[in-house]
Every structure is written in structure tokens, then in C-alpha cells.
């Protein structure tokens, strides 16, 4: 599923510039040590964490897009780091479970 389709159908707000690409799956985690061992390349990462270490981990495992739940928003320097890494950042007002259900209903696994 394309990032653009997920954005349109789940009402995401973009936090930086992004290029459309296929998302291979979903990973939900708030621990960077878990992300580097569990997340897959080009997947969507759903998280509450907004610090730089999150971007360092997402870049290492080639995450396609990060969605911050509960309207969380990273600081400007974190967005700058994501821009350099080419990682798309979005936020949703939904809490993690509610947004996860939306992704499931879209057919993402």
C-alpha cells in the first residue's frame, strides 16, 4: 500500500516533505532497542517516541514512514534529522490502538 493511500484514508498530517512509496507492513513500538531488532524495511512505524534516537533507529532499519500517535510532534531538530534520512513523518490525533485498528481495516498487516 502506498504512503499516499494511508495518508488519505487515515487522515494523517504530514510533518515534513515525503515521497510516495510502497509500505511493506506495520510495526508498533516505543522502544528503539526493539525497533532495530523487529522493524522491517519500508514499513510504517507507529510510535509515541519523538526523540532523535527514534530517527537513528528508523534509519538503520530503513523504515518507510513514522506515524506519531496521540498528536505527538517531534522538535524541529528531530524533523531535520528525518529530512536528511529521507524518512516521512506524520502525526495522528488517534491513540495507538485506535490508529492500529484503522491500519488493520485498510488491510495492512
Amino acid at each position: 500500500m502506498k504512503i499516499s493511500e494511508v495518508v488519505d484514508k487515515t487522515g494523517l498530517e504530514a510533518l515534513n516533505g515525503w515521497e510516495d512509496e510502497d509500505l511493506t507492513g506495520v510495526y508498533i513500538s516505543d522502544m528503539v532497542s526493539d525497533i532495530i531488532t523487529g522493524a522491517n524495511g519500508c514499513g510504517l512505524l507507529l510510535t509515541l517516541q519523538t526523540h532523535k534516537s527514534l530517527i537513528a533507529a528508523a534509519n538503520l532499519v530503513d523504515v518507510g514512514a513514522v506515524v506519531f500517535a496521540h498528536d505527538k510532534r517531534p522538535a524541529a531538530d528531530v524533523i531535520d534529522l528525518a529530512d536528511k534520512a529521507g524518512i516521512a513523518l506524520f502525526t495522528t490525533p488517534d491513540h495507538t490502538w485506535k490508529y492500529a485498528v484503522k491500519l488493520f481495516e485498510l488491510g495492512m498487516r
Binding site: E21, M31, S33, D34, G41, K52, S53, L60, D62
Partner: protein, 173 residues
């Protein structure tokens, strides 16, 4: 030398704490991985060093095993990974970053002895396997990963970068 074109997978994944200590006598830094249920915060003397607790972060350790030939690369000597943001031409890592450009991300494999007084660091085999493993997982073609040992940094305790660690999750203890 192996002729296998390795396909690496993580194995022996263990969750614990990355504990960082400093010697208030000489300023050296050391770190180790702890499997204790809470972060150890002991102060103790070890030879000429007087180690005190500087921080503890939830972290994982792992080894790499080749799915094809079964070769195991032991990464017990690595305590973490740091995304380097160094562009200092006086530092080998910074110089490498300038040479490779923006599409290459350099990750520094951190060893326990950040001051390298023992002369040891993350093994060459470990660094090579880490580079191969993380590049094999890339799917987007947007970037390339290069892993280097922390001994390559000019001064690792002053090196600019972002350590992959779950900071701020242990203050409740």
C-alpha cells in the same frame, strides 16, 4: 576465508541495560551490558580506576548468524550503535562521512572501553557482518549503511552522534 555470500540474521537477542560508568580519577569511560532486573548503580574500584555510575538505558544485544553457512559472529564486544553526525575532517569518521556523502549513514559500533586503554574494540569481523546485515535489510534503495568501530573516532566521548538507546526509561527506579 569463507567463500559464502553471507545472509545474516539476528540471533541470541537479549534485553537488558546499557550501563555507562566514568572514572572520576582519570576521566575514562566504560560501559557494559547488564541482564540484571534493575540498572546496577554501584561505585567500585578496579585497579587504578574509580568507577561511578553515569547512566543506564534499556538496550538489547545480539549476535549474527549466517542463514546459509551457519557462521556465527559474536558481538558481545559491542555495547551499542550510534548514528554519527560528525563531519570533522580531523576525525576519520567525519572524513569518511564527507567522502561518502548524504546518502550513506555511518553507524559507530560502540565497545565497552570507549577510552580504548585496553587497545581492544569491536572486532573487524563483527563490524563487517553488521554492515552486511543492515544493508541486506534495506529495501528502499534510498540509503546505504556503513558500520565502523568506535576506535575510528578521534575522541569517542566527544564524538557527535545519536546513540540508539532507550533514554529516559529507567528514571522511575
Amino acid at each position: 576465508m569463507s567463500t559464502c555470500a553471507h545472509t545474516w540474521s539476528m540471533t541470541d537477542v537479549r534485553s537488558g541495560y546499557l550501563v555507562i560508568e566514568g572514572c572520576y580519577h582519570c576521566g575514562a569511560r566504560t560501559s557494559f551490558f547488564s541482564l540484571e532486573p534493575v540498572v546496577p548503580i554501584d561505585e567500585y574500584r578496579e585497579g587504578e580506576h574509580f568507577w561511578e555510575h553515569l547512566g543506564g538505558y534499556q538496550a538489547v544485544t545480539f549476535n549474527l548468524r549466517c542463514d546459509t553457512c551457519g557462521e556465527l559472529v559474536d558481538l558481545h564486544d559491542m555495547t551499542g550503535l550510534m548514528l554519527s553526525t560528525c563531519t570533522d575532517p580531523r576525525c576519520d569518521v567525519g572524513r569518511l562521512a564527507l567522502e561518502l556523502g548524504k546518502r550513506v549513514s555511518i553507524y559507530v559500533a560502540l565497545c565497552a572501553d570507549s577510552s580504548h586503554t585496553s587497545g581492544s574494540c569491536v572486532s573487524d569481523a563483527g563490524v563487517l557482518a553488521l554492515s552486511e546485515y543492515f544493508n541486506q535489510r534495506l529495501r528502499s534503495g534510498r540509503r546505504k549503511i556503513v558500520v565502523v568501530p568506535c576506535k575510528m573516532c578521534d575522541r569517542i566521548d566527544r564524538c557527535q552522534g545519536i546513540v540508539i538507546a532507550d533514554t529516559g526509561l529507567t528514571e522511575f527506579y
